[in-house]
Amino acid sequence: MSGTGASVIIIGAGATGLSAGWWLARDGVDVLAIDRGIVGWEASGRNGGGCTHPFSPLFAEEQRLWPMMDELLGYPTEFRPQRIRVAFDAGQFARSAQAARDAARQGFASEVLDIAELRRLAPLVGDGVHGAHLHRFGGHANPHRTVQAYAWAMQDHGGQVMQHTAVTGFTGSGGRVSGVHTDRGTFGCDHLVLAAGPQTRRLAALLGIDLPMAAARAEMIVTEPLPLMPLGGVDGNGLYGRQTLRGNLAYGGGPHEWIDPNGIGATPPPSTPLMRQIAGRLARLLPRAAHARVIRSWAGIVENTPDGRPVIDRFGNVTIATMSSIGFGLSPASGHAIRDLVQEGACGFADLSSLRLSRFERLEPDWISRQGWQPPSGAGTSGQAGSAGRMLS
């Protein structure tokens, strides 16, 4: 061992890992975050920026923290509160109402908007709307700015970030890890946090922990800036995103593609012609923006557990956090929870029993194929498409 290290080493400098690092550094803990690439380069920097998860046990803390994050971090996150959910049919409206009920039970209000009020708050919305909710909770932030803010704030409190450093193995096992091997040397630690997105499964397996997850590629588009709507957090119609404070419309949605994350480096794969589907759906959600020009599209790789819910759990001196593709918005709270697990052994502000790994004890070994989550096998490397396929465009 090279003799360097930290009390707590965090693998993965994304939103979750850096938030945890910041929470720990604020407590005076000697903490080091390691990433194979650049901070926030993977899914943490490629999402829609939504901060609205009323089904999560971390919801109340998510809502408590976001309005304070600029001040707490000392750097801008571009957080803006509240969210409008536009529904184009009864099914979409019912799902939005369910979110409202889940939030109401936790003390957060929503209201159904009439068309005039919807138009006032979101003038880019057009006709054909079935209904809309204004959630007086949640909101959105700028993922790029926020992940960098975590990294800088963590450093301001004495934490360290090492970029371009790939983890190759560990010293110890069985819930007692004492060192992290990397391509830039070995680093000792008293506690290890795994928060490496789609890589978390592979890293956990090195420690003998089976963390079921699959990786998928999801895509987003962004338009040129448009005049700011009074409320930029408008989504629906199968899209997630926001109008940025600069005025761009940044939205993503499915369908996603299940992929094999092995062999994919820190730079995610390119986007695909799904851009056209997202553009079409956005033109329906915000028809008064149909003239706005798309100037970028991109893809990100996100991990999902079998039930789509995070795992935040501790095993000996190893804490594992996989946020199952909803990590950005929850990151202020998930970092707090990880800090609690590392320092106190249990989360002091929320009941994380629904996020325990043990819920998968009875999971079938072939769950991926049972759920249809396998990557398309040898899909279309050449030649004609299968005749059974449905035509997209």
Partner: protein, 522 residues
């Protein structure tokens, strides 16, 4: 096999049309490639975005036109005629049976690779401005040419500051350059040849400005001034009226009292001819920096093939050097090799040009860093200055207080790695605008290299993304079946994700996923 209905599995993209060979770009290399492929009997579609509509040219897309177009560009039919007449090979391509489509832009190339497996084969996204569609192809030959490196100085946003490639496009192809008296910046072979050609077409060359003490190439009889710093472009509502230069002192800064005002209506940037690699980079072709080939270029084999075998590259977008700029047969030979899949005979590949790295860094040092002007935007779309880029300041519209505690600069970002323009872009927005970085990306790379004290080649290329030309939502939109959207009403279409935490069963199984309340809750 079960498919996740919310995923792409089981769905197929059927492109509207197919061709054996798609050639992108109707310059010398693209035309030679299309003619060669047709000669071999392949079905060939040749697209070129030119002539682009006047209002798009006004936005410096795809070249830095600087608003110096005559009214002729508003007549699309006449522009089309002029474009066809400007190169007899276009008519030859029509005659050879090539499906030539002018005014059609390629905005994206797509192919399966790591992390993408659902595509039915190589695809390209095309648009004629009113609609967009996908074309399937067996092979793609990219011959998208070059554009000009931007250079920020006070007044560079005025009408009349344009790139050399843009000036030649307007003057030589369309007869639509609105310039009488020009100052040329730079003494590269491309800048000096261009100046001579513009002079022959009736544009007065008031001066050629070089910031170094000696020119890169032989200026001949051109009115060259070396060792100069550009101070500002002056102008009025019509555009540029003069360029003010000064002598460059030992410290690299302008020598006080040496300001010289050169009357002109046009300032032409000839600092750097840049390979137009946007489609290739966005598609995932391997890109590497080559100081001898004009900057970031695709990595090619001897037969012009990129790291994606179905995509070949020819002409200036494969690399720019003085020899290729002067001898059109080099680009044409590349085009024919790309079409035939033939390796180059020894010595037939384009020789290297000058080392662009030091040259471009020197111009940026002498101009951007010397000016240090709070109103000179390196990124014009997002209005970001050189200082704001180097200090990683949040964009002005956030109104973030300039508190001492959280002043951050490039060094705090770097760690052990080289400066990354994408990371800087995310924080400052430099390069995030509608021009898609075409005006600023080389300047930003130079600024980062100068600030970090590293070589220009160590700074990675800022990422290009599809669509590489701005595409209205309504034009970009593909036909969409309602069922596909329905599966994405919730994130990933996963009902169990949305179960409120107080209803989550103690155990989860795949078999029980559609009935999550069957669990044995504790």
């Amino acid at each position: 096999m079960i498919h996740d209905p919310a995923s792409i599995a089981g769905r197929t993209l059927t492109p509207r049309e197919r061709t054996a060979v798609l050639v992108i770009g109707a310059g010398p290399a693209g035309l030679a490639a299309a003619l060669e492929a047709a000669r071999q009997g392949a079905g060939v579609v040749l697209v070129d975005e030119n002539p682009v509509p006047a209002e798009v040219m006004e936005e410096d897309i795809p070249l830095l036109f600087g608003g110096r177009m005559t009214g002729a560009v508003r007549n699309r039919a006449a522009m089309l005629e002029a474009f066809i007449a400007s190169d007899p090979a276009i008519a030859a391509a029509f005659d050879a049976g090539v499906d030539v489509r002018l005014g059609v832009a390629a905005w994206g190339l797509y192919i399966n690779g790591p992390g993408v497996g659902w595509l039915p084969g190589p695809l390209a996204g095309l648009s004629d401005g009113a609609r967009s569609w996908m074309i399937g192809c067996e092979r793609i030959i990219v011959a998208t040419g070059r554009r000009d490196m931007g250079l920020a100085f006070p007044g560079w946003e005025r009408r009349g500051v344009l790139g050399m490639t843009a000036a030649l496009r307007l003057a030589a192809r369309y007869g639509a350059l609105d310039a009488r008296r020009a100052v040329v910046l730079g003494s590269t072979a491309e800048a000096l040849d261009g100046a001579r050609r513009l002079h022959a077409l009736g544009v007065g060359i008031a001066a050629v400005i070089e910031t170094a003490s000696a020119p890169l190439d032989d200026p001949g009889t051109l009115p060259l001034r070396t060792g100069c710093v550009v101070r500002r472009a002056e102008g009025d509502a019509e555009g540029v009226t003069a360029l003010v230069i000064a002598r460059r002192g030992e410290d690299g800064r302008p020598v006080p009292g040496t300001d010289l005002r050169i009357a002109c209506d046009t300032v032409i940037l000839g600092i750097g001819a840049v390979p137009m690699i946007d489609l290739l980079d966005a598609a995932g072709c391997r890109i590497a920096f080559s100081a001898a080939l004009g900057g970031h270029v695709p990595v090619l084999d001897d037969a012009q093939r990129s790291s994606i075998p179905a995509i070949a590259v020819a002409g200036d977008c494969a690399g720019i050097g003085a020899a290729k700029s002067r001898d059109v047969t080099i680009a044409q030979a590349e085009g024919r090799r790309a079409a035939a899949g033939r390796a180059a005979p020894d010595g037939a590949r384009a020789g290297p040009g000058h080392d662009i790295a030091g040259y471009r860094l020197d111009w940026v040092r002498a101009t951007l860093l010397a000016a240090d002007d709070e109103d000179t935007h390196v990124c014009r779309c997002e209005e970001v200055t050189a200082r704001e880029i180097l200090e990683l300041r949040p964009p002005r519209y956030l109104g973030w207080p300039d508190r001492g505690r959280n002043r951050r600069d490039l060094r705090s970002l770097l760690g052990a790695g080289p400066p990354n323009p994408d990371q800087v872009k995310r924080l400052t927005r430099a390069g995030m605008g509608v021009c898609q970085g075409r005006r600023c990306r080389e300047q930003v790379a130079c600024l980062l290299a100068l600030s970090a004290g590293c070589g220009l080649g160590e700074v990675p290329a800022a990422t290009h993304r599809a669509p590489v030309r701005p595409l209205p939502l309504a034009v970009a939109a593909g036909a969409e079946e309602a069922a596909m959207a329905a599966h994405w009403d919730t994130w990933f279409g996963m009902k169990s994700q949305y179960l409120p935490y107080w209803e989550v069963p103690a155990h989860y199984t795949a078999a029980g996923r559609d009935a999550p309340d069957q669990g044995d809750g504790e």
